[in-house]
Amino acid sequence: MTATEPREGRIPDPIDLDAAEEARLRTAAGIAPAVATAAGAEYAGFEMVGIPDRPPQTERERELFTVDEGEMLVNMGPQHPSTHGVMRLLLKVRSEVVTDLDVVLGYLHRGIEKLCENATYTTVLTYVDPMDYLSSMHNEHAPALAFEKLYGIEAPPRAQYIRALVVELNRVFSHGLMMGFLALDMGGITPILYGFINRDEIVEMLASISGQRMLFNFFRVGGVNWDVNDEFLSRLGTWHSKQLRSIRDNEALLTENEIFRARTQKMGIISREQAIQLGVTGPNLRASGVPFDVRKAHPYAPYAELEFDVITQQAGDVYARYIQRIDELKQSMHLIEQIMDKMPHGPVQAQVPGIIRPRPGRAYAAIESPRGLYSVYAISDGGPNPYRFRMRDPSLISLQVMPTLMPGHLIADTMAIMASLDPVMGGVDK
């Protein structure tokens, strides 16, 4: 086995080579050599960078990096065993109990806001898809509304209903996936696959009208791109007829499961005041008892004409957030039925030029995405590109809850609580 080979004959470490090269180039260019990393312990031939790897920059960091007796800083690194994307959690633990937590973001930052300043308004709608990639339709909905306000038009009624339809379908599969992720983070490997089966059916449906399975490029300023077609309607019918039963099957694995309940009830409780203070929105907020739903608070068409209630739970724990999403899922089904009944005929896109140049102004549009309040603030300067395109992603703000919530829980609960907040890193890091 290679473990017994002599070290002299080993291939030189690429990191050693790189370090030597870097030093040589620096001396050649006359730049001071790089500061040696503090506490660089040799570990398997690599320079180990300790945690923390730099002096604290703020009061909060100082508080976090001060490690008392018996505490330890543990890194749950950007590559997680459980999902949600790339995010780094710095935990300060005292033998399994978390005493402090810091969320380090930016691993998926793509500069979408800045990028959109160089793109036409229609192109922007394609750039925002991969933000919160599990609810792409919502990502497109808010900018479309904002740009329509800027341009001063409204989408035709049929387009609005189609928008609501696809957006509710998106919500259905996004919530279904959250159930799966919550179970997966706790070790149940089956619900996630049921969630993906469910998602697959819906995504096939959406692919038949938008042409894409995941990053649907479906919305346009002034409406949607294509009308519904026969294939979509037939898939919708098939799906709808068996959806309720499949929801019941999927949740039966978890909702009454003793182990699941023991791990999720009374865990990660966000109180009403805390939720409002921390800016949590969406199902997380409603699970803490605040009846705020953007679809009711500022109805964007056609939600003003649809009948639905704002569901809330009272407990505010992980289990409540789970139940909240299931209830919203069922409510979305109900909404889809109403939309199908009430859909008017007409064009699906208003007449807009290829490159729109709205008058200078500002517009703000907020929608209810599966993760919360997703809003877009767009400023136009009269040109073909937006002057400022700002997206407020709900997952980012929901993550602020973590440092407040986690102390006192075990490391294993970190996964459960984070999964219940349902962040998607694409949205968090923009």
Binding site: M1, G45, I189, A262
Partner: protein, 336 residues
Amino acid sequence: MDLDLLLGIGRFILSTTLILLLTIPTAFIVIQMELKIIASMNLRIGPNRVGPMGAFQSTIHGFKVLAKEDQIPDKADRATFTIAPWMVFMAAAMSMLVIPFAPGAIAADFNIGIVYFFAIIGLSVVGLLVAGWASYNKYSLLGGLRSAAQMVSYEIPLTLSVVGAVVLAGTLNFTDLIHWQRDHGWLVLWQFVGWGIFYIASLAEINRTPFDMVEADSEIVAGPFTEYSGMRFGFFFFAEYVALFIMSAIMVSLFFGGWLAPWPFPAELGGFLGTIYGIFWFFLKTYFFIFVAIWMRATLPRVRVDQLMGMAWKVLLPLALVNLFVTAIAVVALNL
């Protein structure tokens, strides 16, 4: 006398060799079962390329781990790092010696077979602890400590739950225990609570879901096994599945009649046909319980560490003691 001794030694060597050779295919079969069964429960297909319906997938996995690079962390304690997987595998292999496959088909028919079994199965704890310590990785260490705590605390309800059965049957010998079950009915009917405790504790003992905090969802995946690769990891991996087989086999022997058929006519036969008959029933029952364990893995989420330990000490242990108490009183009072 000499001939007997020689025959005895020869038989012993032959049977132990057979048993040791049997562990690997058993592991392969159980892993393959798990892959396919969990796949069907997840509404997917599972491996279907290697062999007919993917039947050789786990075998190829076994050969693959042989071909992987064997890494040892620089600062790891080389000797203990190497020994740890052997300890775990040895515990599993040695405990296979006392499994009663069929009448007369036990490698080592000790008079204290049950005690031997529980003693040996505890050795795997040492292996995991050593693995966690020797890896020079604080996550491995924590995972190893966690696993040691879990396994040690579940050993107590495990052994206590069996004592009731032993008291009823009056013997620690596996063969005699099964003969008692042939005459008096399966022990699960007499010791239902004992069986329940044994089942839960055995799953926790071998780190199966829902009690697999050790190997998944640790701070980092795989807990004490994080730094292991190649054949060493293969040892751990196979030892886990062999342990699953062994625990199911022991449970079947202790509570479900071992090699006895479910009906009493005839419960067992003699001679070569009897061996075949016994082996058939034994494996059927054992693989049924392996299936149930795999089913539980596919369905249930994990129990949290503190809830797990709480359950061991606050629920299972008192229950096992009560069970023992009641059994003992019943035996004395009813002169069983």
